[in-house]
Amino acid sequence: MPKTIMIVDDEADIRETIKTILEREGYNTILAIDGDDCLKKLETVKPNLILLDIMMPGTPVRDIVKKIKGIKIVYCSAVRTSDAEREQLLSNGNIIDFIQKPFDINELIKKVKKMA
């Protein structure tokens, strides 16, 4: 059974690009336009992995992440953090990795395959 990836990004072109790439690799995808939409959709679906942008309108992602239980999350963002901040975030809860935008398609697929 194909695994399901939720793509949470306020930029439609990014959402659609990642969706196309992952569906071509055989994944099911669910799209959410921001963190609040993500939480709403999680009431009815449970993806294997969430790709979560950091800078989005609405509730800050730090609060969104706290409300997501039992699903692995990968930050997928252009935001750069320090090494110390990254370690702190990875040691805390269900965030398991970062994908830096602009991302390399092969790296994205590789990471999703490894983590989903």
Binding site: D10, E11, I54, M55, M56, P57, G58, T59, P60, V61, R62, A78, V79, R80, T81, S82, D83, A84, E85, Q88, L89, P102
Partner: protein, 172 residues
């Protein structure tokens, strides 16, 4: 490009650059300006990431006030350093309101990094108004301002050129 000279001739400058040159230009510019009082607005790197990056490149940060619109998205901002303001990451209007107050402290330079990130928000129409108001607030001070943007955002960036005194396009 002599950024000091450009800013002595123009109060507000837009630096349009290719993505590949972005980090190099950002570092060169802040290195040149860092002897004076600088207000550095970041929309793509956390305060922590900038401090780490500047330290690695031997850039003094003693004179820099950081306005960080990222960190509060990621974590609770505890023990806020005195050289940093963490502004609202989810409301551009609130972030700009805070910025209007901060620039009243008469910095020599304001660095806005970057318009490209600003336009990644949904409220595009409102973003232009915010930039326009910010530039007017800057004109009420003696602060010289440099705005960064990637030159790949064809739809919005040319419109911002109208608001600043000079646009410098950096080629690859």
């Amino acid at each position: 490009m002599d950024i000091i000279k450009e800013l002595s001739d123009n109060q507000t400058i837009l630096l349009l650059m290719p993505g590949i040159e972005y980090n190099k230009i950002v570092l060169e510019t802040i290195k040149t300006l860092s002897d004076k009082r600088v207000c550095y607005v970041t929309l793509n790197k956390t305060y922590g990431a900038l401090k780490e990056l500047f330290k690695k490149n031997k850039i003094k940060t003693d004179n820099i006030l950081f306005v960080d619109a990222i960190t509060r998205s990621l974590k609770e901002a505890k023990d806020i350093p005195k050289e940093c303001y963490f502004v609202s990451p989810t409301s551009i209007s609130d972030a700009f309101a805070a910025l209007h107050t901060i620039i009243q402290q008469e910095y020599d330079y304001l660095v806005f990094d970057s318009l490209t990130n600003l336009f990644s928000y949904k409220e595009t129409e409102g973003v232009e108004d915010l930039i326009f108001v910010l530039l007017n607030k800057i004109r009420e001070t003696k602060t010289k301002a440099v705005f960064y943007a990637l030159n790949e955002q064809e739809k919005f960036i040319p419109r911002c050129c109208m608001y600043v005194e000079k646009t410098i396009v950096i080629e690859k």
